[in-house]
């Protein structure tokens, strides 16, 4: 009789131990899973941000490859500044691209003051604003580096003068 009670208690204790162990292991694996999820999701956020940034840069650089901007010489990421000055005199083009703003800035050679380019001061200027429909807030700017080229003459000889520029595209922040 005593042996039976003892065996029964022993079995109960074993069941209790096993259930504690199963619960412990489950909690442990749950914690590991949560930790792994937190790490991988933070990586996912970074990847998503990097991807958005890369797409934005791609949008800006692909715009520089359109016939309205691209240089006559086949060179990648090259914008013809003569075309930009011509575009500024055609306000009908502001609705041609489905973006809120497009401007091209000269970065190198550096200039102390930033001046808007017009027919009167070209090429001694820094910024070409082609489209500017950003009246209110809630816009985001994307940019890509481009070479900003024009035809120049020295002692009667033509040459291609290319500066370093940045094409900035403004879109609605959705």
């Amino acid at each position: 009789m005593a042996d039976r009670i003892l065996n029964s208690k022993k079995a109960q204790l074993k069941i209790q131990e096993m259930s504690f162990m199963i619960i412990g292991i489950m909690i442990f694996f749950l914690l590991v899973l949560l930790f792994w999820l937190a790490v991988s999701l933070s990586g996912l956020k970074q990847t998503a941000a990097a991807s958005t940034r890369a797409n934005a840069i791609l949008l800006a650089s692909s715009l520089s490859g359109t016939p309205e901007f691209v240089c006559a010489e086949s060179s990648s990421l090259c914008v013809d500044s003569d075309k930009l000055v011509a575009l500024k005199n055609h306000p009908e083009y502001t609705r041609f691209w489905d973006v809120a703003g497009i401007r091209v800035e000269k970065i190198y050679p550096p200039s102390e003051t930033r001046t808007e380019c017009r027919v009167g001061n070209y090429p001694f200027c820094t910024t070409y604003t082609i489209v500017n429909n950003t009246l209110s807030e809630g816009y985001i700017e994307y940019s890509s580096y481009v070479s900003l080229c024009r035809r120049e003459y020295e002692q009667g000889y033509p040459y291609q003068q290319c500066d370093l520029g940045r094409i900035v595209v403004t879109t609605k922040n959705e």
Binding site: L77, Y145, Y157, Y159
Partner: protein
Amino acid sequence: MNKMAMRKLSSKSQQETVGFVVIILMVMVIGTIFLGLSLRKSKPVVAIDAELSNFLIASASITTECAKDYESDYKSLGDVMEYCYSNNRQCYDGRKSCEILNETYRAILGNFRPGGTNLKYYRVSFYFQDSLNESLEDSGIKFTDDIFYGNSSGCSSRRGARNYIPVSGGSLVPDMDLCLELE
């Protein structure tokens, strides 16, 4: 008899508890090793950046002070890189092409602010690579001195890019990595 049985039971449960702790410890050690390995794999030393790639492509086209055959025959930075590779060829005004390459890159990078941030550190190396199938680190040959500024220590994430300029027999590769002041 009862006392003996209880003592036996108690030592058995102690053994089981020790076994349980050993299993948990083993799982934790294996998990930590696995996590460490996966984190090390997913973090490259220098992240390749689209903005920097575009910068290197665009800067290769800019006009330098180096003229070739006559006074106004100004050449692009990419051409100057090729002259520098071709035994540091002289420009029309007698200056060495590698000197102009170095000066122009320094001047451009002095005004370079990726994402509107100043640079804490940059390094540009110039390689010749005869085969694109092999990695630059294995088969690239440096043809001029590096251009660098600042110190890379304490930089948490570095950005980098390369541009491949085709020349006869291979490519000239400006290889840039940098660290932003924010990081």
